[in-house]
Amino acid sequence: MTTPVHARRAIAWPLAILAAGAALSIPPLRSLIEQSMAWHMLIQMPLLVLGGWLSMRCLAALRPVGTLERWNRYGLTGFIAAQAILAFWMLPLSIDRAVVLPWFDLLKIASLFACGAMLRHSFERSPALIQVFFVGYAVSMMLSLGAYFATTDLRLCNAYSLESQMVSGQGLAILAMLLGVLWLVGTIRAAQASWRRFC
């Protein structure tokens, strides 16, 4: 059993990360994501996904979430939904709308939080063979879009300068590679651990 201190800590971290992500949508911090595409795509969006991911541990204890199990065997549903959400928020016009329309920004916060939570739910019940499809697809999408943002002369977002777009493109590509490596290392470690259990 977790002690109350542990329990408090287990809730405090996800809440803090989420609050940081959401705070970037509220003045005065909002000016950061309004002026810089990198703050929007590389800091706020990942914070929201991470907040969802970390929250899943607490959410999993709730009874309604427990019954979701049978709707997400092998993590299939979660992976597909998360992929759709990620793709949606990488469209330049979605990014623009989130800057201009408050209700769209709220949709962004809610959906990226859900994306993070679903991802954890899915990763915890899927074999590496299924994970590799999701990770491969998501990483290659982020890499190619990042490379495109970084190299094109077209201003893709009306809300951001070309320079801001190039910086975020480079950052997005680096983030994609980091996440790919992180998954690979995690998977290899898990495989080694289960191998040791057998021997």
Binding site: R73, L76, L93, N158, A159, A190
Partner: protein, 221 residues
């Protein structure tokens, strides 16, 4: 951080619920595709710029009422002025201090002015530059810009908003997004906006293909 992956649950997960999972996955897939399809105007537009262009060509929008002021200080309602002129207008947006994209727009407009003159289209097509910086671009600044650009006022007109409070409405009506840039400059999307004789915005075209814009504007009667 937690490990991203953990080994598959042991013993192997029961296949109970697999049908539900497939159904839910299918729903997630369809909803995801529908959201992207809807947001991108059926897969046609991935940027705000292409979205506003395809929306306008499908459904032309009347320009709202604005009081504008020209380089001589004369005032008029923009839409009434367009209808009274009996010409199709190619409209662009600048601020006169601009050193970057507006300069290329300026030279595009100089070429257009030359073509309107040589092809004898003066009665059919007019060129209109609208300043979105009413605070700084009064009649004096407009007149200076007109001189600098060697504008032939019979073909090419520049106006500014009479009231600075109309700025946001103007930018929204034409789908222009202006963002502050270093050194007091602005960065903004640039295009050629075709406004027909009845004062409707009917097409938004690339500013690096002015000939196509001129042909299109001429074809509107």
């Amino acid at each position: 951080m937690d490990r991203i992956s953990s080994p598959p649950p042991e013993p192997a997960p029961s296949t109970d619920g697999l049908a539900q999972t497939f159904a839910a996955s299918l729903v997630a897939l369809l909803l995801g595709l529908a959201a992207v399809f809807y947001a991108t105007d059926h897969g046609h537009a991935f940027t705000t710029e292409s979205l506003r262009r395809s929306e306008i060509s499908r459904q032309p929008a009347p320009i709202p009422k604005f009081q504008v002021v020209d380089a001589s200080g004369a005032r008029a309602d923009l839409r009434e002025w367009v209808s009274a002129s009996k010409r199709t207008w190619i409209v662009d947006f600048v601020y006169t201090r601009c050193q970057t994209v507006c300069s290329s727009l300026g030279s595009v407009y100089q070429q257009l002015q030359e073509q309107v003159r040589t092809r004898g289209l003066t009665k059919d097509v007019g060129l209109l530059t609208i300043s979105f910086d009413p605070a700084r671009d009064g009649p004096t600044a407009l007149a200076a810009y007109a001189r600098r650009m060697q504008m032939d006022l019979g073909i090419w007109t520049i106006v500014s908003l009479e009231s600075a409070g109309d700025r946001r409405r103007l930018l929204e009506a034409f789908g222009i997004m202006v963002i502050p840039a270093p050194l007091g400059e602005f960065e903004h999307n640039a295009a050629l906006h075709i406004v027909d004789r009845s004062g409707r915005l009917v097409r938004i075209m690339d500013y690096d293909a002015p000939a196509a814009a001129l042909d299109f504007a001429r074809s509107l009667k």
